[in-house]
Amino acid sequence: MKTKELRQKKPLKCYAIFFSALFAVCCLLSTAVEAKIYIDITSPAIKKLPIAIQEFSGTEGKQIADIVRDDLEFTGFFLSIDRAAFIEKSAEAFNPKNWTVIGAEAVIKGTVHGEQNLTAVVSLYDTSEGREVLRKEYKGAKASIRHLGHSIASDIYQHITGEKGIFRTKVAFVAEDEGKKGLHMMDWDGTDIKRLGIKGNFVLRPHWSQDGSRIVYSSERGGQWGIYLLDFTKMTEKKVFASRGLNITGNFSPDGDEIMFSSSQDETYGLYNLRISDSKLTRITSARWIEISPAVSPDGKLVAFVSDRGGTPQIYIMNRNGYDTRRLTFEGSYNTSPSWSPDGKKIVFVSRVSGKHQIFIISPDGSALSQITDKGNNEDPSFSPDGRFIIFSSDRNGGSGIYIMRANGESQKKITPPWLRAFGPRWSPN
């Protein structure tokens, strides 16, 4: 599918450049208009907004317009009208009458100039009001045309829904590369796959800091499981904990200065809190049974984790200090891998159903349990930063790959290429 992207593996440095380039792209001219929400995506029943996305005129105009269209369509909130139905030509001025007759409520038009460095001017029109409601200018290298397209989609999405989109986010994940597992990065849509140059034979799914500048992960090196921190701003890796036994990291605290992890370094299993700034280690639990996969809630007050204290692996919730532990899952005999939604109102996890792993969602009070996958084995689910999507790995089409879906289970779609074995995805927070 997307063989070319991976062929051009680039050094990590590219990320530093990419992140700064993002900011450059975001320096835009904007016509301020009063906020009007076209689609209330918080309402339970959403009517898709019919939108016409015209081919932009000029260099790569079609490609950019297609990226914008694909992004918006994926969210499930838009109905993109077939271009064959368009009456108005790209070069012609916006005339609302040309659009209302084909049912479009919003129209996107744009022009692109430049060869290696592209400048795109994009407008969003409201057909009922018959006027332009958003106009922005974007600059970017032709080589990062997808990022240019994602930026446009992001602004339009935000204008129409009032929420920050996910089109500029990235995904950190584990992939098998020449028989070895290594950390990789890609755009949220599965393009621009790159391997991070880190060591280790085995590596587990990474966790992002809230500001998106670091990831923490567990890796087996030299016969020991250790916890490592990768800082994207400096492109350096640092070992933060290693010992005998098993050390598997959970996620960051909201302020990014602490991580929770599970360790069997002692005679017993335990969940620990590690403050990164001064390396202060606090033992939270001590158990003769298994306690693993701690997930700190977005407000930093609670921890969801997996324990087999009752004989089978189940998900429990406790306060950060280890008190007030209660069992969250009662259905089934195998519930693991909890991860919180960004608003803290849902927990997504994996449950074994008829011998297969499926993804479920539950409220932290134990209500509203629902199963959202039913094909193959599905693992490592977590929410997108806006809470509207879930990313996970699945073997439903043979080898393990990475999939995304809407948080209600709709629009399940594989985003990694078929020849890449990929696992443990985590969506970047921004």
Binding site: K13, G223, A242, R283
Partner: protein, 187 residues
């Protein structure tokens, strides 16, 4: 000459041991040393020609990484097996564990690494925890036969190092195991 070498080996082992034994829970994690540990993440090697195919399937499984011990030998003891989702030592595993204990008692300077493994039907992290528990159960059994625990090290590979990859009960059973990797120190 050989004696000197063996002595040296013993010394190295004791040293490694002491290092491990000193760790305590409350010790602050001081892997700070930014110069050593904060290595620049190496740029990705430019193996640009080949896409990462899912081709090279059957990995050589028999290469067992043994790091802390200088003279590693493949296990002279067969693997012990576990029930699905369980980490209790089965009856059929006990003769092997006794043999391992006897061998360690006889070979005073030797050390054993117990590797815990799982079949691939669990989720990744939980399988690592399960593998670690299996290794620890085996370790405790050997220790109860009179071997000090610090001669027994454990590591879990979860489902990462399967002996076979078929989706059959036979294959899953083979993978739910503890493997013994011995390191010879003194004699």
């Amino acid at each position: 000459m050989k004696r000197i070498f063996l002595l040296f080996l013993a010394f190295v082992l004791v040293f490694v041991f002491a290092g491990c034994a000193k760790r305590t829970v409350t010790a602050p994690v001081t892997q700070e040393a930014p110069k050593e540990t904060a290595q620049k993440a190496a740029p990705v090697e430019q193996k640009a020609e080949e896409p990462v195919m899912a081709k090279a399937e059957p990995k050589k499984v028999e290469t067992m990484p043994v790091k802390e011990v200088t003279e590693a030998k493949p296990a002279q003891f067969g693997n012990i097996l576990f029930d699905f989702d369980k980490y209790t030592v089965r009856e059929d595993a006990k003769p092997t564990l006794k043999a391992v204990a006897d061998w360690l008692i006889k070979n005073n300077g030797a050390k054993m690494i117990l590797e815990g493994h799982c079949d691939d039907r669990g989720t990744n992290e939980y399988n690592l925890a399960l593998g670690e528990k299996r290794a620890k159960s085996a370790r405790d059994y050997i220790a109860s036969a009179g071997v000090t625990k610090n001669r027994l090290d454990t590591i879990s590979y979860g489902e990462e190092k399967p002996l076979c990859k078929e989706q059959t009960e036979d294959c899953w059973q083979k993978n739910r195991r503890v493997q013994f990797v011995s390191g010879k120190a003194g004699k």
